[in-house]
């Protein structure tokens, strides 16, 4: 690893970009909703091209229970505690959205064979904080904050769970949820004393599946919230309306001095950009609008459904996935007001543009992505959420998900699917599983925040 004086992570985004290449990937795989009565698990995948087991799952850590629906995850420590020599990026916090259990996984002792360190039981979290349905995990110094999408009974808006560095429940992190209707993702930028949070829906709404009519009944989000980070309370709400239906992944620039950030509105298939203007007021605008595409068998055109976005560590490129169309796009956002499309690849999706890639039938569309610190390799998986998979891509039950790698040109822009990397989760030992979020031992482009 990089020589440094202090704690985990890197002194700056530019130092992070110089880190050694990732050689292991940790990826979530689920059986929840598949009909296979086995626990969800954390895969370790060999990403070292010089290794004989390159592009293979080399170990699997099963969770103790069945039906957790592992989804997103985060590290116990990141560059936000780079100055703290007592901290180490050692544990992944792996929540179950349906069970509310938090699995604390030790990836540091033997990185090729992670082991379960501790479980924070969902029943304890519900009893202590009246929260359920954990989603995004961010560390803040040695503390951990997790967005919880519901109360203990799955009603919105939920709140934020606060854990200490020993993974003990401190309580609720926020002092107030204000008038916020729903929770989902969040990211903080402490030099501007701001946190931004987005909106999916109540767990009782999104967990059983997606009913389009419920969007019109205001059961899904369309607002973005700007928090006073130190006071731990919402300060300002942006009503995005039809331009911002179901705003999901929230990304600030990695540069801690920047006020610019972005959110992908899944159903509107737009990218919304926000920033603080010269007068100190937060502003927003739409910078990407993915058009609906005709489909031979559909009475209405298919929306892209932008299920994820992320920014390269140098804040130059924005990547997005259109889960229903089946494309990943790369935009140059050097001028954040003016995104320029510089790359596009196709895999799976409903438009039949690339049903097979690298010899594997791609079921689902590009969904979760993770970018290497140097910005050159983008790993992508195909499952979104078990019940939503079952609605849009029912064949995923028998085919499973898959992971591919996309090579990204960081000089002139451009993307190409790597022909030598594919992990077919349809061939897992216990039967077809579905792969979701990925993290690297040394940090990645959605894990680290600089304070």
């Amino acid at each position: 690893m990089t020589e440094h004086c202090c704690g985990p992570g890197y002194a700056s985004p530019s130092e992070a970009m110089q880190a050694p290449r990732e050689k292991l990937l940790y990826t979530i795989a689920i059986y929840t909703g598949t009909g296979i009565q086995k626990p969800d698990y954390l895969c370790t995948i060999d990403a070292d091209p010089d290794s004989p087991t390159y592009s293979q799952v080399i170990s699997r850590l099963e969770m103790p229970g069945i039906g957790d629906e592992l989804h997103h995850m985060g590290w116990n420590a990141c560059s936000s505690c780079h100055g703290d020599a007592d901290m180490e990026r050692k544990y992944l916090i792996v929540p179950g959205v349906r069970s509310t259990n938090l699995h604390i996984v030790d990836c540091g002792t033997d990185p090729r064979n992670p082991a379960l360190h501790k479980i924070v039981k969902g029943s304890d979290i519900k009893a202590r904080t009246n929260l359920s349905a954990p989603h995004t995990v961010h560390c803040l110094g040695s503390e951990i904050i997790i967005s919880m999408l519901g109360d203990a009974k799955g009603n919105a808006p939920g709140g934020y769970l606060h854990l200490n560095k020993d993974f003990e429940i401190v309580g609720r992190w926020e002092n107030s949820m204000g008038d916020i209707k729903f929770g989902y993702d969040f990211w903080y930028q402490p030099r501007h004393n701001v946190m931004v949070s987005s909106e999916w829906a109540a767990p009782n709404t999104f967990m059983p599946g997606f009913d389009l009519e419920e969007v019109g009944h205001l059961k899904y989000g369309r607002e973005l919230h700007f928090w006073d980070f130190e006071k731990r309370e919402p300060k300002q709400t942006m009503y995005l309306g039809e331009d911002g239906l179901i705003p999901l992944e929230v990304r600030f620039h990695h540069n801690p001095d920047s006020s610019h950030g972005f959110v992908g509105a899944a159903l509107s298939a737009n990218i919304i950009h926000w920033w603080k203007d010269a007068a100190g007021e937060w502003q927003w605008e739409k910078i990407v609008d993915v058009g609906n595409e005709p489909h031979p068998e559909w009475p209405i055109p298919v929306p892209g459904v932008i299920s994820v976005i992320l920014l390269s560590m140098d804040d130059r490129f924005l990547y997005l996935c259109n889960w229903l169309h089946g494309d990943i796009r790369q935009y140059d956002i050097s001028d954040p007001h003016n995104a320029k499309l510089t790359g596009q690849v196709w895999m799976g999706g409903l438009l039949d543009k690339a049903p097979f890639v690298n010899g594997v039938k791609v079921t689902g569309g590009p969904q979760m992505i993770q970018l290497s610190l140097d910005g050159k390799r983008l790993y992508v998986t195909t499952s979104l959420f078990s019940t939503w998979d079952n609605q849009f891509y029912p064949e995923i039950r028998t085919n499973g998900g898959c992971m591919l790698m996309v090579n990204c040109d960081t000089e002139t822009g451009g993307m190409e699917i790597d022909p030598n990397f594919v992990v077919d989760f349809g061939k897992e030992p216990n039967g077809p599983s579905r792969c979701h979020e990925t993290r690297y031992p040394g940090g990645d482009c959605t894990s680290d925040i600089w304070v």
Binding site: R98, S99, G154, N204, M207, I300, N390, Q391
Partner: protein, 123 residues
């Protein structure tokens, strides 16, 4: 105490005797039936099963829309048997549970109970 007989149609019609005051999920898990489940409060649909015969009380469920209820789905983690019942369990029973919402939208009366418009009585 009166127990109800629960027949599992897709497990060779195996029969279990259950307490009418306990959720079916709890009673069946306790007797060794392998069932999927998630939230255990009636909100996440993971444990949905199809009721082929009989009656349950599932007032506490909030996962199903009216179409799914009309198709016979019940949420085992909160449903309590009112009579003897026959069930089809597991993901094998989920054939009609999931539909593409763009291709097959719900009618106003098929939404979840809190937002559904009741069908007008035909006179």
């Amino acid at each position: 105490m009166t127990q109800h007989r629960i027949t599992i149609a897709n497990r060779d019609n195996a029969v279990y005797r259950v307490d009418p005051h306990k959720p079916l999920l709890t009673s069946l898990l306790d007797q060794g039936v392998d069932l999927p489940y998630g939230c255990k409060y009636g909100g996440c649909i993971t444990c949905a099963a199809r009721l082929i015969a009989g009656e349950v009380n599932q007032k506490a469920q909030v996962a199903l829309n009216n179409r799914q209820i009309n198709d016979g789905y019940v949420i085992l983690c909160v449903a309590r048997p009112v009579t003897d019942c026959t069930l089809e369990i597991g993901v094998e029973s989920h054939g009609d549970l999931y539909r593409n919402p763009f291709l097959d939208p719900l009618a106003a009366h098929e939404l979840k109970a809190d937002i559904a418009t009741p069908l007008e009585e035909k006179t």
